[in-house]
């Protein structure tokens, strides 16, 4: 079969903005990094945006670079990452608006400003989304060519993720006039434009992540007016034995097993491992099927990697898998 993943990839990478959402811990930034890498392999200039991510978990790390923080930094040829800090984005906005440094400083140094910023509803989200829109629209100095061909956004976990995407709509409603309202409406138009923006959801083959992915898909369409275009099922346990071999593994009870394998390891231990794998493999299959039945969307499966920390080799492998199939 001509890779399903490659076809979906073609579709996703023609957009300008790719927003990834999903339950916490499912590997959004891992999948995002792999997608970004796959896009650069097609000659695109890509920016991967994270929001307020702790340095230890920044995508730059997955790509083999040091955490980059708040400045857009090229971590691989053609691949930039940035970790937006909402407070910093807001500060930039205040400076840009006030223009006089002394005045800006006065506002920024005021403790009330910080308290307001810390709790004002949706303000951070609006600022961050606004910044993402600016990055999407950014042009290079004199060539006037878009600075990035693709912006990949690692959105906050679902639950919070949907409220993140709801903010422009709420702001457009609450602030009918003035630049804030105008920008909120422009943002909403960008997010809802399927030729420019794609929303994808990441899950793992587990009940809660799958339920959440399905709920998110439904409510993104119903409450924000954005259609999810693809689902990524990360950490899939893929078949490693033929059907006949699986049957044999299950027939050979681990408790009774005696003897060694060719490499000297215990057959009993290997059978325990194999049975564990088969269980997980079956669960993976079950949830793949369930997702496919629940939504008429492409579902791209990515393999489970036996690592407790993801590095560049793992991201390359996932990018390969996205391209091939």
């Amino acid at each position: 079969m001509v890779g399903l993943a490659a076809v979906i990839l073609d579709q996703l990478l023609t957009r300008r903005l790719l927003v990834l959402s999903g339950k916490g811990g499912v590997g959004k930034s891992v999948v995002g990094s792999a997608l970004a890498l796959a896009a650069t392999r097609r000659g695109k200039r890509v920016l991967m945006v994270e929001i307020d991510t702790p340095a230890v978990a920044e995508a730059a790390r997955y790509l083999g670079a040091l955490p980059v923080g708040r400045k857009e930094t090229e971590v691989l040829p053609g691949l930039f990452t940035v970790n937006l800090d909402p407070a910093q984005v807001m500060e930039e906005y205040v400076r840009h608006t006030v223009r006089f440094e002394v005045l800006a400083r006065k506002i920024l140094d005021n403790p009330i400003y910080h308290r307001f910023l810390a709790a004002a509803p949706g303000l951070k989200e609006l600022m961050v989304l606004g910044k993402i829109m600016m990055l999407e629209e950014a042009k290079d100095g004199w060539s006037r060519r878009p600075r990035y061909d693709l912006v990949v956004v690692d959105a906050p976990a679902t639950g919070h993720g949907l409220s993140f995407l709801k903010v422009p709509g709420a702001a457009a409603e609450a602030v009918p006039v003035g630049p804030v309202g105008t920008n909120a409406r422009r943002l909403l138009a960008l997010l809802r434009d399927p030729s420019r923006t794609a929303l994808a959801v990441v899950a793992v083959p587990e009940e809660m992540a799958v339920v959440e992915a399905l709920e998110f898909t439904e409510s993104a369409a119903a409450e924000v007016g954005i259609e999810v275009v693809a689902l990524f099922l990360n950490a899939c346990h893929e078949r490693r034995f033929t059907a006949a071999q699986e049957a044999e593994v299950l027939r050979l009870g681990a408790d009774q097993a005696r003897g060694r394998l060719a490499d000297g390891s215990s057959l009993g231990a290997a059978l325990v491992a194999a049975r564990h794998h088969i269980r997980r493999r079956k669960l993976t299959q079950f949830y793949e099927k369930r997702l496919r039945q629940a939504v008429e969307l492409p579902v791209v499966s990515l393999p489970y990697l036996f690592q407790d920390e993801i590095g560049p080799a793992a991201i390359r492998l996932l990018a390969d898998r996205l391209e091939a199939a």
């Binding site: 339950k23 916490g24 811990g25 307020d52 702790p54 230890v56 978990a57 608006t97 006030v98 005045l103 006065k106 506002i107 005021n110 308290r115 307001f116 810390a118 709790a119 004002a120 509803p121 951070k124 906050p156 976990a157 639950g159 919070h160 949907l162 709801k166 609450a174 602030v175 009918p176 006039v177 003035g178 630049p179 804030v180 809660m208 959440e212 490693r240 071999q245 593994v249 097993a257 005696r258 003897g259 060694r260 394998l261 060719a262 215990s266 057959l267 231990a269 290997a270 059978l271 325990v272 491992a273 194999a274 564990h276 794998h277 269980r279 997980r280 669960l283 036996f306 407790d308 920390e309």
Partner: protein
């Protein structure tokens, strides 16, 4: 590792589940926080207590893990008759409705229908009562105060909302209070609309600039809504603050206990460690650090066999060796991280091995509870009796 260190940690956590009034379950997103909260609640119920598990998770995961389609804003009693026919304990579950809790709070703290109507009808309030940063966390704490006095329950297990940083739960209420604090209003909004009259006579020059900026960027209507909101809240602030302080005191007392949850992924371990330090520094009662889904090392339960070479086809032999090697490597990497965490935290960990099946019903939760606490002895006879097949946790 489990046998050596698991027991005292499990005992401490079991004791807390048996004796405390409140357990607050915290951790980074995706570590199994909700499952842990539900499993702890079920375990305590099977040990004879009357337990309420409360979630504020906007994505309804507690319902899924309890095998229900939906949870309501009021406690719903679960049927334990098949799991524990003889148990005196009961298990209840509910999902907090942030907006409704906020409304109730407003009703409690305002005198007179007019004031109430003014707040509840305010457009800004309607937009923010569920979206204000920290309002989920604040309302959870607020609800906790009521629930801790509810005669129907011996124990309330609170599942905290998913946050990128586990610490948000402790800090968010403070941020909300900071926002509602009257001084924000005095600084730049209140003078603007006192008595509904537009005046630019604000107290400070910076305030005036901020105000004219706000006007230019946000528009008059929005500022009016906002200003009304603050004016209406001014009278309630003291009441809010008083209750926030009560909750804070409650959470510091011996009635409460914090359960930290992590997974063997490095990033979540770092989060747990950081949170643990914060609890210790602020003298909050810590009762356990649970690490979920630890991958078992298959060679631990099946010691190397010196027997003869097994009679297997070469291909199967090679694949078996590879599968074993993958799992062993992962298990060893995790054990290393866990050993380091244990040293850094100075606390024994409660390790829960990954199960072969997905946990999303009462039976699964009972299995998790058993794995988490059975070693502690006593308690739930059920949890003790049923040793899972998949128990090869090293």
């Amino acid at each position: 590792m489990r046998d050596r260190i698991g027991a005292p940690a499990a005992r401490k956590l079991a004791l807390a589940a048996r004796e405390r009034r409140i357990l607050v379950v915290c951790g980074a997103g995706g570590v199994g926080k909700t499952t842990t909260a539900a499993a702890l609640g079920l375990w305590a119920a099977m040990a004879g207590r009357r337990v309420l598990v409360c979630t504020i998770d906007p994505s309804r995961r507690l319902a899924t893990s309890l095998g229900l389609d939906r949870l309501l804003d009021t406690p719903k009693r679960l049927d334990l008759s098949r799991l524990a026919p003889d148990s005196r304990g009961t298990l209840w579950a509910m999902m907090l409705d942030t907006k409704r809790t906020f409304d109730t709070l407003v009703e409690r703290h305002t005198s007179g229908a007019e004031a109430r109507r003014r707040i509840l009808g305010n457009r800004f309030y309607q937009q923010v009562s569920s979206a204000l940063a920290g309002s989920h966390e604040y309302m959870a704490m607020e609800k906790l105060l009521d629930l801790s006095k509810d005669e129907r329950f011996d124990l309330v297990v609170l599942d905290t909302p998913p946050t990128r940083h586990a610490l948000d739960f402790l800090e968010a209420p403070g941020r909300l209070m900071g926002f509602l604090d009257a001084s924000v209003l005095r600084w730049f909004l209140k003078p603007y609309f006192v008595a509904g009259r537009l005046t630019l006579k604000v107290a400070t020059r910076t305030g005036a600039i901020a105000l004219s900026l706000a006007d230019r960027f946000l528009g008059l209507q929005f500022l009016q809504d906002l200003s009304e909101f603050f004016l209406a809240f001014e009278g309630m602030y003291e009441g809010f603050k008083e209750r926030a302080e009560k909750v804070h005191a409650l959470l510091r007392s011996e009635l409460a206990g914090f359960v930290l949850v992590a997974s063997p992924v490095r990033f979540t371990l770092d989060e747990a460690l950081y949170f643990h330090r914060r609890l210790r520094d602020s003298a909050m009662p810590f009762v356990g650090l649970v690490v979920n889904r630890v991958h078992p090392d298959p060679t631990r339960s099946q010691p190397t066999d010196r027997g003869p070479r097994a009679q297997l086809a070469a291909d199967l032999d090679a694949r078996l060796a590879q599968v074993l090697e993958d799992q062993r490597r992962l298990a060893r990497a995790e054990r290393k991280s866990l050993a380091r965490l244990e040293v850094d935290a100075g606390e024994p960990l409660v390790l829960v091995p990954e199960l072969e099946a997905d946990v999303h019903d009462l039976r699964g939760l009972r299995e998790v509870g058993g794995l988490m606490l059975a070693e502690a002895g006593g308690g739930s006879s059920e949890g003790k009796a049923r040793r899972p097949r998949a128990r090869h946790g090293g």
